[in-house]
Subunit: 401 residues, 2 copies
């Protein structure tokens, strides 16, 4: 029993940590609670039709299913639900009408075939990436509404009445959700995406700094390890970026973002960031390998390497502020030039190496192997990746600012 | 208009390609269609209660919402739906009873507060990773059912009657889904995960082969490029692996997999695979860089490099068959030994380099820079990554076989 209590205690502890770390989430929960209470009590106080068994249920259901963490996701679900319900409803009424006018024997056959065909086709369309990204929820609602309507036992004129009532309750629930979502502490998917990209840029810069410092100063302080570890979450942020960009598309203009803000550019920047992170991963692997370069060689290259990595991380930080302020920094071109100069300097340092190699022929091969990847991986992360990244970001700021 | 027709044509073309590439998906769609038709017509033919407005609706809704692509996902949703509905239903009836016995004034206050508190708490619990992974859908259903039940206008004795009917329709819908899902062409999440890992291992082996062949033979045949590109989808497979492992947990024993198959091991193998893929990404970056090694140096190292990479990719293929057959291959230890020997051989080749360097001091620094990362990245992908991977896989096969 004590073990069970301990488990529960740990669980509560974890929950408390989440709440402290992100108070936004707590606010979201309170918003959901308030909205649901309002809708429930509204329909409880004046049972418009016949209590929960009737249509009031649809308002509550809409609130529970549609209210999401970000404004974009809520809007996506509301709009999808509205479109899906409307299309399926009208189609369903049509099929229902056709079936009811074709005799008692044909009626179930027509209904069955139409449900089968439309459900299969709609389910299949959910596998198509372009439909999945934008209308996944809408298609689900389409299938649901269509089969409910077309199989309903009502006569057509009563059916239209039911549909009207049901649509109005759904509309009330959905609009209440949207209002609550957008008016009180709105959490915009676009802004979250923006912050994520900006944070990831800074994490990469820190990791690059940390790696070089760790390697060349041999200070195994716990602080630098924490810094280096930051890049790891850049590696796995693709899914979060994709979904947020998908939701951000549905959001209206907010803050410094317009309605047709180029969210896809963020995905491209994210992809570049990830390939930078792969380089840093390799760099980190070299840092942890057993093979160590000899002191001599390390000292020879350390200046050039440190210059290069600090200028590269400076560029990354510069890009981070560029993304943050959405304004092209005046220093960015200059610092990219500086970085390229640092690359040349390191290349020169590499070329002057063979003189040392002659002096210490056997031991340097390992050292070379050690120092080389640093240069090599710093180089792609600077020249190969940052240049497209820089053009991307300047593109982004040009379209946005 | 012609443009619009073209768009539709492209869309249909894309859909057809998906259908041809994965006929499983088409079968899944047909299964959904058949199940939905059966449920709809069943309730249409004998309107048990009062037509679709009543409880038959819940059967249709359950089928639409619960029927997922894999067996694991369907079971996850069914079990979650059952648990959520049951818990929330009993709690809701309790609150409803308490509220209805506390006077007309207190009643809405008690109801409102209970809905607010439980909805907020349940929404918050969805942010806790361990709850999200296993019970996300169940919590949603809990909120929905609780607010529906506690706010319903029925008297308690009638409420229990309604709840019983509703539960039975949900049970009919859910069990029909599970039966259809498991009896006709079942698609097991566990098997899909197994195949994904196995395919990814093969792709990595191909990419490694392709990279070395590309670099050392200079044959820019289109075929090898296609091979190399295969590793890119390994980089982004984390989300798919996570969700499939989550669903696989719910599946009963099937094929060669037991109920408590160690699915988490697959995630660890997947993580190792991804770090291999990062290495290959860096290797690929070196392949595409402008700096080319001089012919002399390339020839000096090519033998050792080719041996190493072919033995590494042989190990990967060996691991792939190990995963596929779930039986520890007898050759695996031997081929890992061979790979380590190849690493030593390459290191020796590196050590004998300085002699060449003396002959061509200025031009080799570039060449060195080019050849080094190959060794370096092949080394981690062999020694650093494959060794833990090998232990992991042998662990896996020991627990599984």
């Amino acid at each position: 029993l004590g073990e069970f209590m301990l488990k529960i205690w740990n669980f509560l502890e974890k929950a408390r940590n989440i709440a402290v770390a992100e108070p936004k989430k707590v606010i979201h929960c309170l918003k959901v609670g308030v909205t649901l209470t309002i809708v429930s009590l509204f329909y409880y106080m004046r049972p418009l039709y016949e209590g929960v068994g009737g249509n009031a249920m649809w308002a509550i259901m809409t609130v529970v299913v549609v209210f999401e963490y970000t404004v974009g996701a809520t809007l996506y679900k509301c709009i999808n639900r509205a479109i899906g319900t409307f299309l399926a409803g009208s189609l369903g009424v049509g099929v229902h009408w056709a079936a009811s006018h074709s005799g008692d024997k044909l009626e179930p056959i027509i209904l069955g075939i139409s449900v089968f065909l439309l459900a299969s086709a709609a389910t299949f369309s959910r596998f198509i990436p372009s439909v999945k990204a934008r209308f996944d929820y809408g298609v689900l609602i389409f299938i649901l509404t269509f089969s409910l309507v077309s199989v309903s036992g009502y006569r057509v004129d009563k059916l239209i009445d039911v549909a009207r009532q049901r649509l109005s309750t759904i509309a009330i629930g959905a609009s209440l959700c949207v209002l609550m979502c957008m008016l009180f502490y709105p959490i915009w998917a676009g802004k979250e995406l923006h912050n994520l990209i900006h944070r990831n840029l800074e994490k990469l810069a820190d990791a690059l700094d940390g790696c070089t410092a760790e390697y060349f100063t041999d200070s195994s302080a716990g602080d630098s390890w924490k810094k280096i570890g930051g890049y790891k979450c850049v590696l796995n942020s693709k899914a979060a970026e994709d979904s947020m960009a998908g939701f951000a598309r549905w959001e209206p203009a907010h803050g410094r973002f317009n309605f047709r803000h180029p969210w896809k550019q963020y995905l491209k920047v994210g992809a570049s960031l990830r390939s930078c992170a792969y380089c840093i991963e390799t760099l980190d692997g070299c840092l942890n390998s057993e093979i160590k370069a000899p002191e001599l060689l390390r000292r020879h290259l350390s200046d050039a390497c440190i210059t290069l990595s600090s200028s590269a991380s400076f560029v990354l930080k510069e890009l981070a502020t560029t993304v943050k302020t959405m304004r092209k920094s005046s220093e960015i071109d200059f610092s990219i030039g500086e970085m390229q100069f640092a690359v040349l300097k390191l290349e020169n340092a590499m070329k002057s190496l063979p003189n040392h190699l002659v002096a210490t022929p056997s031991s340097t091969s390992d050292g070379d192997a050690k120092a080389e990847p640093i240069r090599k991986t710093t180089t792609p992360s600077s020249v190969m990746d940052i240049l497209p990244l820089a053009t991307l970001v300047s593109m982004l700021t040009e379209t946005a600012a």
